[in-house]
């Protein structure tokens, strides 16, 4: 960057500021309600704070360094670069998220999702569903994202500038959490597939309740860890070292056993935390939406064509499926009857167990897998209490799903069911609706498909099933909240 004068930096800063303001305005104008108002407010706060920071710092520097033009130029350049970097990250990280739309089917789920999340978190939040062109579901939680950026600027400001930034931050009074749930745009018409969002919401519940902190640290499995250190020690260029960790070591330590052990310890623990957080989300989702979480995840993996292999961020798919099934069976009371749903789940157990045995665990993954496996009971015992009050166990399933299913099978959007005790029509539970959808899809499509003319292609019939589910979720939520 040497050779660029301060004027150029200031000019490009102004241009960038102007273009970002316009871009936010344009993107906001294009959004249909409900808009992510808090997020937009946060973006505006950052832009305003950066503008305030730079203009005030420049005023103060000009007074303070009046007699030292070289130092003044250097300082102004430095501050302009900091401001430009913040604007740059705004451009790259946040603006793409403003492409979120709400005029499609996924919007129909949103009120129910908001209500469900509200049960688990007391913090204020704004949740936005983001259709992605990647085939991936993801959670992105930003805690105090805008205020944190402003606080960073405050720390590097003189008292006057700081006071102005504090005022801006307090006036904005943003909600604590801005949450984005990403989903594949191709699945926006599938109420069944969107059940995966329960897992992503599990991440949010974990994040706000810091469940993972109660689960860690765990002592790594000794034998496999020793084997890992031995194996890694034999290779001078330790393949598992990330550049970041490598920089923190010297040549003296890297070739000693203690050095290799330190690196292995670090990489194993990082992987352990990520895997445990996936397990937390899986278990929370299993309790929150019952068998629908298993079916949705199972179909998602199939749809991805996923290998039964671990990654840095996720345990092996078969291991996760096995975990969900085990939770459904042992803790939630499924698979102890001859019902259609219990049969389908029971049939999956040996298949999934074989897959879990087949999964390949190498290096750190082997250590982490063994560590989790030997601590699984205590891990699960700590996760369950978070969701136990809302767990959709087998008895809940049996008392809600059959009535809903009976309507769905006849091609009726199962919005309400008759409450036999009250003798009134009451709102069908959203979780019940989704499970009825999965049960129908997995066990008895023939009856439902038979409601259609022969000329209607099967995929259109399936599409219609999903539309009935969307409608039922939307309308039952209104019924429940209607006063």
């Amino acid at each position: 960057m040497q050779g660029i004068d301060q004027k150029t930096y200031l000019d490009v800063f102004r241009e960038k500021l102007c273009s970002l303001q316009k871009l936010v305005q344009d993107l906001e104008r294009g959004l249909a309600p409900p808009k992510p108002d808090e997020f937009i407010k946060g973006l505006r706060l950052i832009i305003k704070a950066v503008e305030t920071f730079l203009s005030r710092r420049m005023d103060n520097l000009q007074t303070a360094l009046e007699k030292n033009p070289d130092a003044l130029a250097a300082q102004i350049t430095f501050h302009a670069k900091v401001a430009l970097q913040i604007l740059g990250s705004l451009h790259e990280q946040y603006l793409p998220l403003l492409h979120a739309e709400s005029q499609h089917n996924e919007y129909l789920f949103k009120p129910s999702i908001d209500r469900a999340v509200g049960l688990f978190t007391k913090s204020g939040f704004e949740l936005t569903l983001i259709p992605d062109f990647q085939y991936n579901y993801a959670f992105e939680g930003k805690e105090n994202f805008a205020t944190r950026e402003v606080e960073l600027l405050e720390r590097h400001s003189d008292p006057d500038t700081k006071a102005a930034l504090v005022k801006l931050r307090k006036e904005a009074a943003l909600k604590q959490w801005i949450v984005f749930l990403h989903f594949p745009v191709a699945e926006r018409d599938s109420a069944l597939k969107l059940c995966i969002l329960a897992h992503e919401l599990g991440h949010f519940v974990d994040e706000t309740n810091k469940i993972y902190r109660d689960l860690l640290p765990i002592e790594l499995d000794k034998d496999s860890f020793e084997q890992l250190v031995d194996a890694k020690g034999k290779t001078p260029a330790y393949g598992g070292v990330t550049p970041k960790s490598a920089q923190q070591l010297t040549f003296d330590t890297i070739f000693t056993r203690a050095g290799v052990e330190a690196l292995c310890y670090r990489s194993c623990n990082e992987m352990l935390e990520r895997w445990i957080r996936e397990i937390i989300a899986d278990i929370l989702a299993a309790h929150a939406i019952g068998p629908a979480s298993y079916f949705a995840f199972n179909d998602f993996l199939a749809c991805m064509g996923a290998e039964n292999a671990t990654s840095n961020s996720h345990p092996a798919p078969a291991f996760r499926l096995q975990l969900i099934l085990k939770e459904l069976k042992d803790t939630m009371g499924y698979m102890n009857s001859a019902s259609a749903i219990d049969s389908v789940l029971s049939e999956a157990i040996p298949r999934v167990a074989a897959g879990a045995v087949d999964a390949k665990y190498r290096d750190e993954a082997k250590v982490v897998h063994k560590t989790i496996d030997s601590n699984l009971a205590s891990l699960l015992a700590k996760i369950r209490p978070v969701v136990s009050e809302y767990s959709f166990g087998a008895s809940n399933y049996r008392s809600t799903v059959p009535k809903i299913l009976e309507r769905l099978r006849r091609g009726i959007a199962p919005i309400e069911v008759l409450d036999e005790v009250q003798g009134e029509m009451s709102a069908a539970s959203v979780v019940g609706i989704l499970n009825a959808g999965w049960e129908l899809y997995k066990t008895d499509t023939a009856g439902f498909y038979g409601e259609f003319k022969d000329t209607v292609p099967e995929l259109e019939r399936l599409g219609n099933l999903n539309h009935l589910l969307f409608k039922a979720v939307e309308a039952s939520d209104v019924k429940r909240r209607w006063k």
Binding site: Q103, R407, A413, A427
Partner: protein, 212 residues
């Protein structure tokens, strides 16, 4: 259990008779073969009719290169070039300008038994403000789905359309019972655009021309 077995008020009704509130509740809650769902307030069900409200989904026209609507050659792709779907969330509204037209649908999901038909009636209060909600007023026995409403502002002032507002009524009449549940081409939950291109008459009309 048929109506006659139940000994209900419905027993001796001739075809075309308007169904009373008591019969409607019986069919909704006891026989469960009439579905108007959700019913948000009991007062929605009156003698002979059930109030219906506006849903959240609309299909509106947009300017496009389509030069005309030619029904025999219309297809889904062509439809999409001059129309678009919009969802209006609860609490928001859709502005229907004077002499413009939008397709909406009922918020309620409706399923008629094989011996009941229905008529869609505009609510007169809206009618007096210039809002017309339906032109295809007859609903066949055995029909299922959310009804498409053809909303038109015949007045001079824009009208705010709010999802969940009560825009009309369904009047239920007894009908000669169908032998079996008709098979569906689609069970709609959002407004449906015309499918007139599928009308077999077009081919016959074209054949007439060819044959001289």
């Amino acid at each position: 259990m048929s109506a006659s077995e139940s000994g209900s008020a419905e027993e001796s009704l001739p075809n075309g008779a308007v169904l009373s509130k008591q019969i409607l509740w019986e069919r909704i809650k006891i026989k469960k073969d009439l579905v108007v769902s959700p019913i948000l307030e009991k007062s929605q069900v009156g003698d002979g009719s059930v109030d219906i409200s506006l849903g959240t989904r609309f299909i509106r026209s947009r300017r496009s290169k389509t030069t005309e609507i030619d029904f025999p050659t219309l297809d889904k792709e062509k439809n999409r070039s001059f129309q678009e779907s919009v969802v209006v969330p609860f609490g928001e509204h859709y502005i229907l300008h004077p002499r413009s037209f939008v397709l909406g649908c009922t918020f309620e999901f409706i399923a008629l038994p094989l011996d009941i038909c229905a008529l869609v009636i505009s609510r007169s209060s809206y009618g007096r403000a210039g809002l017309l909600i339906a032109t295809a007023m007859f609903v066949h026995p055995g029909w299922r789905g959310c009804l498409t409403l053809e909303l038109e502002n015949l007045g001079e002032i824009p009208i705010k359309l709010q999802p969940l507002s009560t825009v009309g009524q369904l009047v239920f009449l007894s009908a000669a019972k169908l032998a079996e549940q008709p098979k569906a081409k689609i069970i709609p939950v959002s407004p449906m655009f015309t499918t007139l291109n599928e009308d077999p008459r077009w081919k016959k009309i074209a054949a007439l021309k060819q044959n001289g």
